[in-house]
Symmetry: C2
Subunit: 278 residues, 2 copies
């Protein structure tokens, strides 16, 4: 792991790091905020998965999470959203290819060589964090994310209920099976057999038996993607049928931007911190 | 005035606006955050002047001021740092020309036609804010800024003690007369007669009799520009000689970036709010 930059912020250290990923076959960049803490103290870890077109940088610069992480003693990890580099297959669209990995392991050529963001986020990067950040208490992890990354947070969390103590999301894609972004991405990354999509669909995972006690979701009601892509009602229905305690907060006047996320990310940090310390 | 964008954030509205400026002879862009408030309520105004290379966008995206402005009911105005556009004279350097107006009214050709940021920030933009934002209480204004904009905040505030109830700064250029950035910028914008520089130099203004009750300055001790360009000791000396109550906080480990500013901008908002509401 290479340190690309560190800056003191809110009493802790905001770092950006790079490493050669086995999962993606590329150099990957991610950010970690370590709040102020006593030497030897172990701190819980909150993962944040970003949305379409984003890298680690968007939330790192615009997320306004550090004050809450410093207050509650939480490490904040922000991975990239896809493999990068000239050798990585891509296409000229904002919702597929680079910046749009959808947190799946692609099985279809030419994407399967590099687009393995499930393995990267679920296995490889946690192992790297455990090895390189000795203050990270990997027995206490939670996960959140935005839009495509909200989908990533919900599905990663639902597939690994023993690893994540709590799951939240901002304006998540709740069911790729039921929206155009999902049809395009999953169809091309993992093929047209939709049975293979179900482990990458929060609503399908719940219908198929995945269980967590509760979920927290914030959704702006002025979000341009609400009706066609995000469809939070599908998650509400799935949670009701499964007896999962979903807190779905429709936030009046908020859109899909980081102005929305930064308004509530501190509250999510506090919500996760309460569960990580319970 | 044209509205370029508005986004709901922290319960209020973060807007970006454009207008044709008489002072600079160009189209100018600025941002205004209006916190949540009751209809008809008047709110105090905090000005934030940005540093070299910045526009309104840096602090608007990275400043982390909105939570505090929402809590304390303060409007936050962030102007640009220079005129912009193809017709505006410029040169290929980060510390002079576009992005580096130094909050002076240039008197030297070719700069004097457009580089009139003192008039813009001190006269024209406040009049526009008063006209276009009826909830802005122009009888209650304060000012802050970063680096070159810290210089702008100190000098604008010291020249107008009846208008600004309080003045603070982050890593300010405290004396352009005594640093390379100042020599270059003031020498070319307003000529080599240094008597003309004194109204654009916080320490000289104080030595020449400008008085305010107190100043708040945060300065990172890991700031690369500390020794050569910023030189806070000069301000300390000037304030001691004048009996101005300077709170100069040397912040250990902090650099010159927005990671530093965003760590303390909320505290500055609260500090100004206490004085604006006194």
């Amino acid at each position: 792991m290479q340190t690309l930059s560190t800056n003191k912020a809110h009493g802790g250290v905001q770092g950006v790091y790079g490493h050669a990923s086995m999962a993606t076959g590329t150099e990957m960049t991610f950010s970690v905020y370590v709040p102020p803490h006593e030497d030897g103290r172990k701190l819980p870890v909150l993962w944040y998965l970003s949305g379409l077109t984003c890298s680690h940088a968007n939330v790192t610069e615009k997320g306004e999470y550090r004050a809450a992480c410093a207050e509650h003693g939480v490490i904040f990890v922000a991975p990239d959203t896809s493999p990068r580099g000239d050798a990585v297959p891509d296409e000229d669209s904002y919702d597929f290819g680079k910046g749009a990995g959808f947190y799946v392991d692609a099985t279809e050529a030419p994407w399967s060589a590099n687009y393995r963001m499930r393995s990267y986020v679920e296995d490889e990067l946690p192992a790297l964090i455990a090895a390189e950040f000795p203050m990270a208490d990997m027995a206490r992890q939670s996960i959140t994310g935005h839009s495509m990354g909200g989908h990533g947070a919900l599905t990663t969390g639902l597939r690994n209920p023993d690893r994540f103590r709590s799951i939240s999301a901002f304006a998540p894609v709740v069911s790729p099976i039921n929206c155009p972004w999902g049809h395009k991405a999953l169809g091309r990354y993992i093929g047209e057999d939709r049975a293979d999509w179900r482990r990458y669909d929060a609503c399908a995972l719940i219908a198929d038996g995945a269980r967590v006690a509760e979920l927290l979701v914030d959704q702006g009601d002025a979000d341009n993607f609400l009706e066609e892509q995000l469809r939070p009602q599908l998650l509400r229905d799935a949670c009701e049928a499964a007896g999962i305690d979903l807190t779905l907060r429709m936030q009046p006047g908020y859109d899909h931007s980081y102005y929305f996320i930064s308004s509530f990310l501190g509250e999510h940090v506090a919500w996760h911190a309460a569960r990580l310390k319970a």
